[in-house]
């Protein structure tokens, strides 16, 4: 099917299978490789982009639902890596392998856009769908704190476990 939408402020028109997820449209058709494949089932968040400003797992959004969508990928978050979160990510030297980090930053950016001063539980909820197998969670949290100019709101006993991420688009 032919579908037109916007990516990083520019119009995009593609002719793809109607069930092709946005992730593969971005990576294989539009040649935007910043969004990563990690699971394909909405469990890892490596593919996170914004659709109308909302953090969205691009592996779960088929072409058939894309018409007119306004998509932002990591490549379009800021023209030169100057988003407050990108700067905070540098300040805390967050990434290890880095593979999950585009998705992490996009999830965090959508959170801050909605909640400029998030609580710990806001951060947990917003970021729980973004896996980092290298285990950079502490630094991700610290970087979100820096970028939002906040400090922890946490009870001393720490967070709550929740292993499964419900798949969502």
């Amino acid at each position: 099917m032919k579908v037109s939408f916007r990516v990083n402020g520019k119009p995009a028109s593609v002719d793809v299978a109607e069930d092709m997820p946005l992730l593969w449209i971005l990576r294989d058709v539009l040649d935007l490789k910043g969004s990563k494949y990690g699971c394909g089932i909405g469990q890892c968040g490596a593919c996170t982009v914004h659709v109308k400003g909302v953090a969205t797992k691009s592996c779960q959004l088929p072409a058939s639902k894309l018409a007119g969508a306004d998509v932002t990928t990591i490549e379009g978050l800021s023209p030169d890596g100057s988003h407050a979160l990108q700067k905070a990510w540098e300040e805390h030297d967050v990434p290890q392998c880095g593979y999950c980090q585009a998705g992490q930053i996009m999830a965090a950016a959508a959170l801050l856009a909605k909640k400029p001063k998030p609580t710990d539980s806001d951060i947990d909820t917003a970021m729980n769908g973004n896996l980092c197998r290298c285990g950079t969670y502490l630094r991700i949290k610290a970087a979100i704190r820096s970028a939002s100019g906040t400090t922890t709101t946490d009870a001393p006993s720490g967070g709550r476990s929740g292993q499964r991420e419900e798949a969502h688009a």
């Binding site: 290890q96 593979y99 709550r160």
Partner: protein, 799 residues
């Protein structure tokens, strides 16, 4: 540009000013300064270090025996010298360092050049890193075993110090003054008396003709002179990563490239019986279905084989593969059942095994102890589940193979490709991309072979893309393991005898068929080299046959050894009625430095982490120091309410000493939270402490996954789990609030950093759960085992 990806260089498809220009800026390791290449260099399949570094400038290489200045002629294959480290200063002063190790999050692409640049007094902003291809000239490039710094620190320093000396000599000569009167300082040489300065770049031409400084004259910086070593240095790949421009395996594009997905044997060694590709070929975008012959098992690094769907793009390949109907024979391991295998392992460790370490008379000690304690532990298979599933790109044409892969071992990839496709290694080039996590999975180049095989079959460049399901179901797995420990205590609570039996399918089983089990010298990976002061010990391996591909996983067998030993020591402390930490210190005992290969090892292990015992004897003072540090920093000994508890463990692996105190909170429903952990590590000299810290943070979180959540199990020879939904790993919500890492910095020989954090964490978490709940977890993962713990009677009667 000196393109890592030749096809994307300025001679590539899109052209420098084409619409895909940003490809260039996306390659973090491509420096902007390199001199133009001739077409010969661009087209050459096998590029030497000099080709990557470009022509001109001053190039030095360091290898066994010292440093040499290189010109193109010096790097022929006929020269048997294998330097590992290459440094170039171009005429404009830009320094380019060739990174011969793979970057997978440990930070080597930053730490290695940082050490060299520090020693040479370079200005960091004038330094670039290029990634080396797979090439025997570099010696082993296998980025595993937490080896990079500990094996190469002296060479990195020597490389830098040589450049510094050459620059100083060249300046002194130009000024006509003694070399002692000048000093290199941040990319310049200064004449101390007059303050005159010459830039490194301006000295390159004379440095090219100067006599090389004698090795004895080289001055490695003293700790006070170091600018960056031992301090923090941020990753050089930070901006490419945070802007989405960093290039991982699947991000490489070649003109005309196809994408392939492979249906692989569901059971190790099963073979295709029939293929019906009619529906698959009807999927739009699917171009071809190709059989990949099954490699005879065990198969080492060769691909499993199966049936590939080759398509225009990834989604078509995914859909095509779903439509493909493949039937398989049962295969030789179709009876592999994790439940039954666990019982088998437990039966195996019930009987005496082959000792790797033996002192005194353990049977007599166990028979005569005032008290004996026995316990069994079990840990299932694990999968690396690195965030980037393996993917590789290959282009095979005219008998030449060129591959791009996130590989930990480009040299193994190259040789395996040569063997698999029956071509000369000289005709194989392997380029290394960034690795999106690896943890041992990417030491095995089976996936690179798949790409090359398919490229040859379809006559076009091919990317093989593994899905997460492929990764979970067709990987090389961390060994499942069972342990039996027995100890005797005297009346005062001192341990007099220690029997440890370990059974697990060995990694060697992928290289040789029908191995009965591990060999005693494998126990060196965290079981036979324990720092205990116990007069009677026997550490044994017991038989365990492999039914699936077994492979290295971060910390390897030290993971289950660390869990079993760390837990058992805590059980002994309870039995002795002592504080767990004090008991640990007592167990380590007297201050001593021991070469265990001569004291207790039944045979000196063939491989001691690739190091020499004389360089890295066991030092109990270091073991006690890390324990004392975590005791002090964690608030050890202060009271916590029921449901919360602290656990402690110490473990030495990869030549480093790590102690941890982990604090857990166990909710009534059995959920385990880890609010806080305190880590102390003595890894000798730590070049980049902040990266070491991040490795410890990551190790703890990986150990949380290993201990609390993750399990690969088999039913009818097939992996039960499929994706992150059922192969669970730690998420943000479960992450500790604080991980307090203390690096006991010293000038000692460097130890490993990437791996040794995992093993003590597994034990410490289990011990903390016991402290919190009175429930001793002896089988991992913890999973739902603790549900309703608060209403259960505890094993020791206490609460």
């Amino acid at each position: 540009m000196s393109a890592l990806f030749g096809k994307h260089g300025k001679h590539g498809k899109h052209g420098k000013h084409g619409k895909h220009e940003r490809h260039e800026s996306r390659l973090p390791w491509v420096s902007s300064n390199t001199t133009p290449e001739s077409d010969e260099l661009v087209d050459s399949g096998r590029r030497s270090a000099l080709k990557i570094l470009g022509l001109g400038g001053l190039v030095l290489a360091v290898g066994p025996g010292g440093v040499r200045r290189l010109d193109a002629a010096a790097l022929t294959a006929a020269d048997p010298w294998n330097p590992h480290v290459y440094v170039k200063i171009a005429d404009d002063g830009i320094v380019t360092i060739l990174c011969h190790r793979s970057e997978m999050g440990q930070g080597i692409r930053t730490t290695m050049p940082m050490i060299i640049a520090d020693e040479m007094e370079a200005d960091w902003s004038n330094c670039r890193v290029e990634q080396a291809d797979g090439e025997e000239k570099y010696g082993s490039q296998n980025t595993d075993g937490s080896t990079s710094i500990r094996a190469f620190l002296p060479q990195y320093r020597e490389a830098g110090a040589t450049v510094r000396a050459l620059m100083e000599d060249a300046a002194a000569k130009e000024w006509g003054v003694a070399a002692t009167e000048v000093k290199a300082e941040q990319h310049e040489v200064v004449h101390t008396a007059t303050g005159r300065r010459k830039s490194f770049g301006s000295l390159v031409a004379s440095a090219r003709t100067m006599a090389m400084p004698a090795r004895e004259r080289l001055r490695i910086k003293s700790p006070a002179e170091r600018r960056w070593q031992g301090k923090a240095m941020r990753s050089i790949d930070l901006v490419p990563v945070t802007t989405g421009k960093a290039v991982y395996g699947a991000d490489v594009i070649l003109p005309g490239m196809k994408v392939a997905m492979v249906v692989r044997p569901p059971v190790w060694g099963s073979k295709v019986v029939s293929v019906d590709d009619s529906a698959a070929l009807k999927v739009p975008g699917v171009e071809k279905v190709v059989r990949i012959p099954e490699s005879p098992i065990p198969g080492a690094f060769l691909p499993l084989g199966g049936v590939a769907v080759v398509a225009k793009n990834t989604w078509a390949a995914i859909r095509g593969r779903e439509a493909l109907k493949v039937t398989w024979d049962a295969g030789p391991h179709a009876t592999y059942e994790s439940k039954a295998y666990k019982a088998e392992l437990e039966a195996s460790v019930a009987k005496p095994g082959a000792p790797g370490y033996r002192t005194g008379d353990v049977a007599a000690a166990l028979a005569s102890g005032a008290r004996t304690v026995k316990a069994s532990y079990y840990m299932p298979h694990l999968s690396h589940a690195q965030m980037e599933p393996v993917a590789a790109i290959a282009n095979v044409s005219n008998g030449k193979v060129e591959a791009w892969a996130p590989t930990q071992s480009p040299f193994d990839a190259r040789n395996t490709l040569a063997q698999y496709l029956k071509v000369e290694p000289a005709n194989v080039t392997v380029h290394v991309t960034l690795l999106g996590g690896a943890f041992g999975r990417k030491s095995k180049p089976d996936f690179v072979c798949e790409a090359a095989f398919l490229s040859r079959e379809v006559g076009a460049p091919v990317r093989v893309q593994w899905t997460r399901e492929d990764d979970v179901r067709n990987s090389y797995y961390h060994s499942v393991a069972a342990h039996r420990l027995e100890a005797s205590l005297d009346a005062s609570g001192k341990v007099t005898g220690w029997l440890h039996r370990s059974a697990y399918p060995t990694i060697s089983s992928v290289f040789a068929p029908n191995l009965p089990g591990p060999t005693p010298d494998e126990l060196i990976n965290g079981a036979s080299d324990v720092p205990w002061d116990i007069p009677n010990m026997s550490v044994e391996v017991c038989p365990a046959v492999a039914h699936v591909r077994i492979g290295w996983f971060r910390s390897v067998n030290a993971i289950h050894h660390g869990f079993a030993i760390g837990s058992f020591v805590d059980e002994l402390a309870q039995a002795a009625g002592k504080d767990s930490a004090e008991f640990l210190l007592q167990l380590i005992g007297r201050d001593r430095v021991v070469d265990q290969s001569k004291n207790g090892m039944v045979e000196p292990p063939k491989d001691y982490y690739g190091a020499a015992w004389t360089d890295y004897p066991l030092d109990t003072v270091r073991a006690k120091n890390v324990v004392r540090t975590v005791m002090e920093k964690s608030g050890w000994g202060t009271k916590l309410p029921r449901g919360r508890g602290r656990g402690i463990a110490v473990h030495r692996s990869f030549l480093s000493y790590v102690a941890m105190v982990v604090e857990v909170e166990v909710l009534p429903d059995g959920t385990v939270l880890v609010p806080k952990a305190t880590v102390a590590v003595d890894a000798g000299f730590v070049a980049n402490p902040d990266r070491a810290k991040s490795q410890m943070e990551g190790a703890l979180i990986m150990a949380m996954s290993n201990t609390l959540h993750s399990e690969i199990s088999f039913a009818q020879g097939r992996v039960v789990q499929s994706n992150y939904r059922d192969y669970q790993v730690a998420r943000m919500r479960a992450a500790p609030r604080t991980v307090d890492v203390h690096i006991l910095q010293n000038e000692g020989m460097p130890g490993g950093i990437g791996e040794p954090g995992v093993p003590p964490a597994c034990g410490a978490i289990a011990n903390a759960i016991f402290a919190a709940t009175g429930v001793r977890v002896r089988e991992l993962p913890v999973g739902r085992q603790l549900a309703g713990w608060s209403t259960r009677a505890t094993e020791d009667g206490s609460s």
